[in-house]
């Protein structure tokens, strides 16, 4: 019963155009506004590398959020990505110590396989991704505990190249964040300019329609989850770059909800079929900015959760992609 307005004049009216324009710049505007607000309230923030801090903090959120966006785009959700990040980081720290320079490559392959396993089970047993990845989340978390021996794994050797990702940058933007931006560009290009990318969006918009268009929906689902695993692994890489160590409950273990929030603040639809990885960059920056901003501006520490919750709701309300007759769940 989609409203059949078959009489839309070519190009749509002004309201539709404005809505479309806002959809493409909303996340950017929201981030810039918040950032400007912080800069005005705390002028020293800009002069002392505020940008660097926000960017470095946003790096891992961004990578996880990009993976999540790709999965949300096909209408699924990946609750296991943060546990893949931390497991990947732990494995990386361990293998850097033992096998050395080839470790990152090896780990990225392994985490991609983890993602692929999620995808394979979802695609071929047709279970809801929410429940399945909740289950694998537990398994990856256990794996992180077991392989690390429930303690912090510290990178002793061969870590300099990776640490340089965090410590060096272009114009104050750490390489870890630049890595995220590059990933976003690639993802954006992939979704807009390749057949598998377009087909993935088709799945998110109407899976039945995609099936009847001859699209290999199952394998594309596997691909989306594999990419999510890969990007989660990259996030793990940035954790090691930043901390030089990893532990099962430490940095990177709580990226799940910030990642989803970043994807949605970046205009990704939680019901599938709508995402713009470039905007997810600003979503991640916004989500990373909130706690930093509340500390910088000097919100009383006890009220910070409250502020965080409200800001998330408001920013999503502002950047949401919604059409008048769509159903929100």
């Amino acid at each position: 019963m989609t409203a059949e307005i078959n009489v839309v004049p070519a190009g749509g009216n002004l309201k539709v155009k404005l809505a479309k324009a806002w959809q493409s710049v909303g996340p950017l505007v929201v981030f810039l506004t918040m950032f400007a607000l912080v800069a005005i309230l705390t002028p020293t923030f800009l002069g002392n590398g505020g940008v660097t801090i926000v960017a470095s903090s946003a790096a891992s959120v961004l990578l996880v959020a990009l993976g999540q966006s790709l999965v949300l785009n096909i209408g699924s959700i990946d609750l296991s990505n943060a546990s893949i990040t931390i497991l990947g980081a732990i494995l990386l720290a361990m293998t850097l110590n033992s096998v050395g320079a080839i470790a990152p490559l090896f780990i990225l392959i392994v985490v991609s396989i983890f993602g692929a396993i999620n995808g394979l089970i979802i695609a071929f047993t047709q279970v809801p991704s929410f429940a399945l990845t909740l289950g694998t989340f537990g398994i990856f978390q256990s794996a992180a505990l077991v392989v690390s021996g429930a303690t912090t794994v510290y990178v002793k050797e061969n870590g300099d190249a990776i640490k340089a990702l965090y410590q060096s940058g272009i114009g104050g933007i750490p390489m870890t964040f630049a890595l995220g931006v590059i990933a976003a560009l690639v993802a954006w290009w992939f979704l807009r300019f390749t057949r598998p990318g377009l087909a993935m969006t088709a799945i998110g918009k109407n899976e039945s329609g995609a099936i009847f268009s001859g699209i290999k929906t199952r394998w594309l689902k596997v691909l989306a989850f594999t990419m999510s695993g890969f990007l989660s692994g990259l996030a793990g890489l940035t954790i090691i770059a930043q901390a030089g160590s990893a532990s099962p409950m430490g940095l990177g273990s709580d990226l799940l909800l910030p990642g989803i929030a970043a994807a949605i603040v970046g205009g990704t639809s939680i019901s599938g079929g709508v995402t713009n990885p470039l905007n997810v960059v600003f979503g991640a920056l916004s989500v990373a900015l909130v706690p930093i901003a509340s500390a910088a501006v000097g919100v009383p520490s006890q009220a910070q959760s409250l502020v965080y919750g409200l800001v998330i709701i408001v920013t999503v309300a502002l950047t949401l992609s919604r059409s008048s007759n769509s159903i929100v769940k």
Partner: protein, 512 residues
């Protein structure tokens, strides 16, 4: 549920109703009235403004100007609830039942006054709900079990529930009431339609009926008066006895019908068939089906609900499993049949559930068109948007898709124009071998149906083998080179129309 005895006061009267979307006027100054006991037909092409008008009547849209009177009183419908409590019930074009609830509840769920008898302070009284549903169902002559859950019912039964619900909404209103039937027959088979038509005649006892359909013969049979809409205006309001089908067609479309007789080829038996089906079976659906279609020929399959022809068509496209038997494409046997493989092998399928299976509503027309067979708009996995635009624009021009805007979301086009794009999606394949069409004209207005039929014939001429599940027997006989009749999952007869000339009655005999 007392039949109205008031006379003189129209059940519903519209005066100068207007509605615009943006700069576009969808409904332009419509006025008419309907008296108790009347069955009025409403026809018009897709996009003529019928849907908008119906949505105004049911409270989904609010008119920009004009007034509505129900039983002599001016009313304003702010939402569907207002319309329902004024006594307007609708049987929707696409079924609108809650599949997870029982028949009785679906009937009661219409939140008019009718339902308040069975809930008290929001508490359900199930026995009364069942009882009320039983009474309503009996009144329309249905023997359905009120306790049955809707997702276990067949299509016709569901339609009956819809009607019962529409009637029960009216029961609560003061004075006479109005039942709107929005293309209730578009998805029904012939004999099912007959059952339904009987019901429609009974419905006028409840008040008045507005009957919307694309099938002019149905309108002529069932209605006393006919309203014709074109481009948002009411172009005619005629007594049925004073018009012919041809005149109606002209009023709707603005020109005469251009149907042309098809020339039929007979089979060259030496040639390898494009598709050959050998004793294909699927448990509980169809069994031992064998036939073949040659390149350039059209095979129409007819059968009632449950004949298995839909499942067969879907199985040929790889959408359903096959238990035994074989399918040969150009003489080569294919195994492990799946949709992607079917598509790759040159098979196209136009599904009957267009909105769910046929299109990606949120994609633009051009994206939809090139999604399956990108042609020159992709180089391997890489897309070339500019080439995509050109391909889409060419098809839009060739098929006269309206509005002529390839960057519009396809979901916003009318059904007929969507169907043209779905056809183009398959025709865009350079090596289309077999085209399977499942009720391709369903819900289409005559103008769009003409274009689609022309495309089907052209595809055939250009060498595709076409398998058609037609809406009507007439359509099957007109379009087909060969007609297969199916019953209970088996092929009961096969006619080569180049040699034989069966009547619709002949076909019907083998169907039931």
């Amino acid at each position: 549920m007392t039949p109205s005895t008031k006379s003189g006061v129209p059940v519903i009267a519209l005066t100068n109703i207007e509605k615009s979307f943006g700069s576009n006027k969808a409904v332009k100054g419509i006025s008419f009235s309907i008296n108790p006991g009347e069955v009025v037909g409403l026809i018009g092409e897709n996009g003529a403004g019928k849907s908008t008008l119906l949505k105004i009547l049911t409270g989904m849209y609010q008119p920009d100007a004009g007034s509505i009177e129900v039983n002599g009183k001016v009313v304003k419908f702010k939402n569907p609830r207002d319309s329902i409590s004024a006594g307007i019930g609708v049987v929707h074009q696409e079924q609108s039942l809650f599949t997870n609830l029982t028949v009785a509840e679906n009937i009661a769920m219409n939140s008019g006054k009718g339902s308040s008898a069975s809930t008290k302070f929001g508490i359900y009284r199930w026995s009364q709900i069942y009882q009320a549903a039983k009474v309503t169902l009996e009144a329309i002559g249905s023997k359905l079990d009120p306790k049955a859950v809707v997702n276990q019912l067949g299509f016709v039964d569901r339609q009956m529930v819809e009607i019962a619900r529409a009637v029960s909404a009216d029961a609560g209103a003061d004075g006479s009431s109005l039942v709107i039937l929005d293309e209730p027959t578009s998805v029904l088979e012939k004999h099912e339609t007959e059952v339904l038509e009987k019901e429609i005649r009974k419905l006028k006892n409840f008040g008045a009926v507005i009957f919307v359909s694309h099938r002019l013969d149905e309108i002529m049979r069932n209605c006393e008066r006919i309203l014709v809409m074109r481009d948002g205006e009411l172009v005619a309001d005629r007594k049925t006895s004073e018009v012919t089908e041809k005149q109606l067609f002209k009023l709707m479309i603005g020109h005469d019908s251009r149907a042309e007789a098809s020339s039929r080829k007979s089979i060259d038996s030496k040639e390898t068939a494009a598709i050959e089906v050998n004793s294909l079976s699927r448990k509980g659906k169809f069994s031992n089906v064998s036939f073949s279609v040659h390149s350039g020929r059209l095979t129409a399959i007819v059968g009632a609900t449950g004949s298995g022809r839909e499942e067969l068509a879907r199985a040929l496209f790889g959408a359903e499993k096959i238990d035994s038997g074989s399918v040969l494409l150009d003489g080569k046997q294919i195994n492990n049949w799946r949709i992607p493989k079917a598509v790759k092998s040159g098979i196209g399928y136009v599904p009957s559930e267009r909105k769910i299976e046929g299109i990606i509503g949120g994609f633009t027309a051009s994206e939809n068109l090139t999604l399956t067979h990108p042609g020159k708009s992709a180089l391997g996995p890489f897309l070339i948007p500019r080439a995509r635009k050109k391909i889409a624009q060419d098809w839009f021009n060739a098929l006269d898709v309206r509005p002529n805007d390839i960057s519009q979301e396809l979901g916003r086009f009318s059904g007929g124009n969507q169907q043209k794009v779905v056809m183009a999606k398959w025709l865009n394949s350079p090596e289309l071998r077999v085209l399977i069409l499942d009720h391709p004209l369903r819900g289409l207005d005559p103008g769009a149906a003409e274009t689609v039929n022309a495309e089907i014939k052209r595809a055939c001429k250009e060498g595709a083998a076409v398998i058609l599940l037609a809406d009507t027997l007439e359509e099957a006989l007109e379009m087909g080179d060969q007609v297969l009749v199916m019953r209970d999952g088996e092929v009961t007869s096969s006619y080569d129309l180049a040699k034989q000339n069966p009547s619709t009655l002949d076909l019907l005999e083998r169907m039931v």
